[in-house]
Amino acid sequence: MNTVLSVENLSTYFKTDKGIAKAVENVSFSLNKGEMLGLIGESGCGKTTVAQSILRLIEYPGKVVSGRVLLNGRDLIKASEKELSSLRWKEISVIPQSAMNALNPIFTIGDQIMESILLHENVSKREALQRTKTLLELVGIDGERWRSYPHEFSGGMKQRVAIAMALACNPKLVISDESTTGLDVLTQAQVIALIKSLQKKMDLSVILISHDLPMVTAICDKIAIMYAGNIVEWASTGDLLKNARHPYSQALLNASPDLGNPEKEVVSIPGSVPNLVNFPNSCRFHTRCPHAFDKCRQEIPEFKEIKNGHYTACFLEEEGNHG
């Protein structure tokens, strides 16, 4: 397998009036060609910050303070603005959080898709337009509608346009950042199915950011679970469902309903997400963890491989007294 993206010890901090907010701390994971990784976590846990850090879109008061983001071996964190401009969209693209706002209201959708093609490839306007139409057809929109403005589309169609736009330059990696938020359940399912089928067809690597665990387990090859700025567990979907090791992963699985098993009791996680400003050196989940002991409150657990391809950060692993 060849690795497309490798994120190593990525930390992104935000300066606030009250101190430094460690929004993303020591995050590591990687992604192989043609693989779909689900990045799961509650709202505000840092999923989008991870995506923006990878895309180098973090702006003041935020800053990537350490770590590497290797895209086909090239470190994006160290890349110059000029290098980035040429890498963006050609190598790595994004389907944004809400397509409603991600399309510029004063340009036609055709203009916006063509813009990315013309920016990165040496093709004629005519050819770019032809490709734009093909892309629209690919996501199930009449190609002749390239002349329409964003407000002339429904939410679901705008999301499709955003997908078409993300694929405009045949990127190797696509980050879908909660791209179904704000859509009704049926449209969500259609959009997700579309992303999945395109991923298979074009052999794309996809990072699917979501808080919808059942949906992610249904379509992703691997899953990384985030909590309060850390990835607490990263494993193949099968391993995670059968043998979740981190107490937060277990709690998250218990908190999701299971359509196949209506008897299953949905258990919420007591407590709330800690404030990330000036967070002490400890396991970030210790305040809500039923198994927490002294060490969890004093040290940061290391994120390490416990089984082939199964990573977690929990002191219970080394104590050997996993509950």
Partner: protein
Amino acid sequence: MLGKFITGKLLQYFIVIFLMLTLNFLLPRLMPGNPLVFLAGEDVGFMSSAEKDAILDKYGLNDSILEQYGTYIKNIFTGDFGYSYQQKRPISELLMERLPWTMLLTGLGLVLSTVIGVMFGAISAWRRGTNTDANLLTVFMFLSAMPSFWVGMILVSIFSAQLGWLPVFGAESAWSNYTGMDRFFDIGKHLILPLATLILISVTSTFMIMRYSMLNVLGEDYIMMAKAKGVKEKVIKYKHAMRNALLPVATVFMLSLGFTLGGATVIETVFAYPGVGRLMFESVLSRDYPLIQATFLIITFSVVIANFLADLIYPLLDPKVGSRNG
């Protein structure tokens, strides 16, 4: 579709104009004071009632209100705005004399203050939180806090009285017989101070609107998307952000455009600039009914025309507006 849209709008505007004409007719007649005093001056106390009647008859002021209204409407549509009691001249002649100066002053003032406000507003937003932003904000807030007559007087005392660079009042040198380029420069010299005053006091609103609007646009997801697409920063600023941020400015510009023909009363008075604003001020002081009505009417018409232009132009700027109305 566009034709139907325009016809509908035209009908609306006709109703507005008709209402304004009526109000304009009633307004001076509802105000206290007797026009006779102004027609005949101090002598009115020594006049017999027959003499008074003769004067009122001459100006049609003895007719019933309805008859006066009929005459008024008929005259308006034949381009006859009546005769100024006070200045003893036809009003259309007075207006033709004053309008070019007002258009020069307020038109140029509006365009320049919009351009300057947009430029600095955008720069301020692009450098949000920096010293540049803070300094610009301070300067523009300071400008907006100054009353126009005060700014005018300060400028006159510095540039005319102290330095002697620029003339104190008027639109051009009296009794000079400049022609061609000489006249052009003479008018330009006279224009500088009132124009500067007008820009200084009106530029802040555009600056504030532009800054706020640009900040909003910069926070939009489509700007981040443009960046993610690899669009260069300059292109993002000018192509993606600017046009969206300009929409509220365009609205305010169109609104102000309607009032430009009304002149800038205070500034025209301070600089003794022969514009419509001063004409209006004089007409109110002397209760010169026909002149008051005519100047108000000019403003009304220009507001309506500006609104109509805005209705035509706005869909070109904002695609959302076009499709909603069409």
